[in-house]
């Protein structure tokens, strides 16, 4: 198993290189000159000499590959340069805002799991029953509504009309409810249906029949066997949706004035704060890869039929 993780981590390397190179290339292909962006952001009237001076300072006069290698070396030391806007190291700025985003992402993930597991399971057990119908409705709603719109709706009803929760900001648990719900809605829609389908599939498996004929209690069959195996596709979904969750925090943080990384990224885009943009894309890629790895490992624990060997060979 150790070697498997090792190999998976090794496989991360080319993906990492590809992600960094792509962002690097995109930024350099865009018509925005980092030197000019810097001067504009600093409110300095750009003159030809100043631009040339800044280009040299940023190493923009070097060949592209040399620039890339230099940037890569710095990244390995967690040096993402200084923000054009605040003149602070990008890493510090990001770390300042990361906890808020992680808090939001985890709380919505938790909410999504807490809601969608019973919902999906029950709607499979009572197929076409009331719970199933409700869950279907919720799924349509959750999957099709744009996140910002859902956010506004929730604010409008729960904060403005009913006056139960705060409109925006961070601080208390009450502040966390609406943004988490907004983010979780899309996930609940997908996971509850995914789990339902998967449970229904498992119920048709011979082992369920066998267990029943053995006279095992229905509770035991469901809880100990069916749910556990049915959980597997949902877990894969969780891993794949981490990216969606990250993109979602950008919108939700903006709508709910949540002081996190996503909102900072938006501001960086508006200000053409290139080092920040670069750092964001890179961290997102890393997080995405890492989440997928964790999910894969979890999968193997949950479903022993997926063997280490089979994995490593494929």
């Amino acid at each position: 198993m150790g070697s498997y993780i090792g190999r998976r981590l090794l496989a991360v390397l080319p993906i990492f290189l590809f992600a960094t190179f792509l962002t690097f290339l995109l930024i350099h292909l865009s018509p925005v000159d980092p030197a000019e962006a810097y001067l504009a952001a600093s409110h300095i009237q750009p003159t030809e000499e100043l631009i040339a001076q800044k280009r040299q300072e940023f190493g923009l006069d070097q060949p592209l590959l040399v620039q890339y290698a230099q940037a890569l070396m710095k990244m390995c030391r967690l040096d993402f340069g200084t923000s054009y806007i605040s003149n602070q190291p990008v890493w510090d700025e990001v770390m300042l805002r990361m906890p808020a985003t992680i808090q939001l992402a985890f709380s919505s993930l938790l909410l999504a799991v807490i809601v969608s597991v019973p919902l999906g399971f029950l709607s499979a057990l009572y197929k076409n029953g009331v719970i199933d119908q409700i869950s279907r409705l919720l799924a349509f709603f959750g999957a099709s509504i744009p996140q910002f719109w859902l956010g506004y709706l929730l604010i409008y009803f729960f904060a403005v009309k009913l006056d139960l929760l705060p409109v925006q900001g961070k601080g208390t648990l009450a502040n966390l409810v609406l943004p988490s719900l907004t983010l979780a809605m899309g996930l609940i829609a997908v996971y509850s249906r995914l789990l339902r389908t998967s449970v229904l599939e498992q119920l048709r498996e011979p082992y369920v029949l066998y267990a029943r004929t053995r006279g095992l209690k229905e509770k035991l069959i469901m809880g100990k066997h069916v749910l556990k195996i049915a959980f597997s596709p949902m877990l894969t979904g969780l891993g794949m949706n981490m990216g969606k969750l990250l993109a979602g925090t950008i919108i939700v943080e903006e709508v709910f004035s949540w002081p996190g990384f996503g909102r900072y990224f938006i501001e960086a885009i508006f200000n053409r704060d290139i080092p920040v943009i670069q750092c964001y894309v890179l961290l997102s890629a890393c997080l995405f890869i890492l989440c997928n790895l964790i999910v894969d490992l979890l999968q193997m624990y949950l479903n022993p039929r997926i063997s280490w060997k089979g994995r490593t060979e494929s």
Partner: protein, 542 residues
């Protein structure tokens, strides 16, 4: 096998436990909502406001990301910009200007103290100027900084600045929010270089920064040492709310007492709040003019008749009303008349399609049979309009022009650009038509005529091929270095009239600020300076 399953359950529960632990740790760590309502004593007047961005470092000598509105609460200028461009004494009680227009001597107000109780005097003014001039290259966009030769503290309350050459807008530029405002001694870093940061925000202004949480809120309380009239409110809370719609919802809930600024909420939202009748709303005097700059280096646009035809060829009133929902006003003057020296009478170029066609025919741009685009010597009349693509107002305006000009036989290509790209092409004069605007108070009219005359700026493309160019540039230079008020007024009238007649700068609409507040808020006035805060006169009944 059972052992493996037991492990799996343990794994999941462990994961959930970790998640919830992190969650609860995060939420208990950050118990930090602004305590505005509960912390303020009973009967305290707290006004809550929102801004799209964090206020940034409260340093009077730096720019972005520090926010002007908050900087102007803490720091004050020597001279204040009042309605209509009148310049009033502020930290300076009076001033004299030498006959050659180079030396400005200021008598400082004597009863002024910084918020920490230290005295405001010529020495600290000098120290601030020294700090600013250490990074003069950052500030040379201000004409008087570029012209500044030396500064001296003549005696305790007399401060003198000397310019290399006469530059009349000096007083007006001293009214800007940054960088020429004054930090107290305690705020200076040891090496005196404020460009790298200040120790603490000590100013002479009516407000002090009392509490601050980055990206969340800032709280300002009254400065007990304030020399002038104390503000009515006890406390101003600025919450950071980046999204306009959320701002409206927070306002409707009563979390915010007022919404104020340029483009801070959508035009629809403003209209809706206004129509509800539940709130007070207002729009300001023009703070600037949306302009379309015609590049006269373009062969077609070098002809006055073509420029006039284009101006006659679209219904400006309908376009401005339609696109801005009446929040902006159709503009006929290049610079609105509420700036100094700009109150000239102009003849509006009205909407007249027949006249437009006639001008184009006269200029030799004829419509060949069976074609929709006019031609001259085999070349079609095609123009490109560039604009900033994220702007909600410019895009529909560009589309309107495209449709209207098609009707007079002009093919308009519209190109939405990234902001930096647009600025770059504007400066390099690689455009036929471009949307831009002037700077507003307290920068105009002098900054505007300066950029029109300077070859380094895109605005000067409007002059490139005018027969009057040399004369205009000379007049502009004379106006900026003039020392005689009457002569200057005449020069401005002549310059602006010529620009209007030459029709290469097209006034589109006057940009305005908006305000919405609850009925228990009173005393609101739009500040004359576009970048100042409006909080001093505000009062609130609880």
């Amino acid at each position: 096998m059972f052992a493996a399953k037991g492990k799996a359950i343990a794994w999941i529960s462990a994961l959930l436990l970790i998640l919830s632990a992190i969650l609860s740790a995060c939420s208990s760590n950050s118990d930090s909502a602004p305590a505005s309502s509960q912390a303020a004593g009973q009967g305290d007047k707290v006004i809550t406001f929102s801004w799209a961005r964090d206020i940034g470092e409260m340093n009077p000598h730096v720019y972005n990301p520090s926010q002007l509105i908050a900087q102007s609460m803490i720091y004050e200028p020597l001279v204040r910009y009042a309605d209509g461009g009148k310049l009033e004494p502020h930290l300076a009680e009076s001033w004299t200007i030498s006959p050659d227009g180079k030396a400005y001597t200021f008598k400082l107000r004597q009863n002024v103290k910084f918020s920490d109780g230290t005295a405001f005097n010529a020495a600290i003014v000098k120290k601030n100027f020294d700090a600013i001039m250490r990074k003069a290259e950052n500030h040379s966009w201000l004409g008087f900084i570029a012209a500044l030769d030396k500064t001296e503290a003549v005696d305790e309350y007399t401060f003198k600045l000397t310019l290399k050459q006469a530059y009349y807008p000096t007083l007006q530029e001293l009214a800007v929010v940054r960088p020429v405002r004054f930090l107290g001694e305690a705020g200076f870093p040891d090496d005196g270089d404020t460009s790298k940061g200040v120790k603490k925000p000590v100013g002479t202004g009516p407000w002090m920064l009392a509490d601050y949480k980055k990206d969340e809120y800032a709280e300002f309380t009254r400065n007990p040492n304030y020399w002038g009239e104390q503000p009515k409110a006890d406390k101003i809370v600025i919450k950071v709310i980046p999204d306009g719609e959320t701002r409206v919802l927070a306002f409707e809930k009563g979390d915010l007492d007022l919404i104020y600024g340029e483009g801070v909420i959508s035009m629809d939202a403003f209209q809706q709040l206004k129509d509800s009748g539940k709130y007070e709303t207002g729009v300001s005097e023009p703070v600037g003019t949306r302009l379309m700059v015609m590049n006269t280096a373009n062969a077609a646009l070098s002809d006055l008749r073509v420029r006039l035809a284009l101006q006659h060829g679209f219904n400006k009133q309908a376009m401005v009303d339609g696109v801005t929902a009446g929040l902006e006003e159709k503009a006929d003057n290049i610079l609105s008349t509420n700036f100094p020296y700009t109150d000239i009478s102009v003849t509006p170029i009205g909407y007249d399609v027949e006249k437009a066609k006639a001008y184009l025919d006269e200029a030799g741009w004829k419509l060949p049979d069976g074609k929709t685009v006019r031609e001259k010597e085999g070349k079609p009349l095609e123009l490109e309009l560039i604009y900033e693509k994220s702007d909600q107002i410019l895009k529909p305006m560009a589309e309107t022009l495209q449709a209207e000009w098609a009707a007079i036989g002009v093919k308009l290509t519209i190109t939405g650009l990234d902001l930096t790209e647009q600025i770059k092409r504007f400066r390099a004069k690689e455009f036929d038509l471009n949307f831009s605007s002037n700077y507003g108070a307290p920068y105009d009219p002098h900054s505007f005529i300066h950029v029109v005359a300077e070859n380094d700026f895109g605005f000067s493309a409007a002059l490139s091929n005018l027969p009057e160019k040399d004369h205009l540039v000379k007049q502009i230079q004379d106006a900026l270095s003039s020392t005689d008020e009457k002569k200057r007024a005449e020069l401005y009238a002549s310059i602006l009239t010529t620009l209007q007649e030459q029709a290469s700068l097209v006034p589109i609409s006057y940009i305005k600020k908006t305000v919405v507040y609850h009925k228990n808020v009173s005393g609101f006035q739009f500040p004359a300076n576009r970048e100042e805060h409006p909080f001093n006169s505000l009062d609130i009944a609880r």
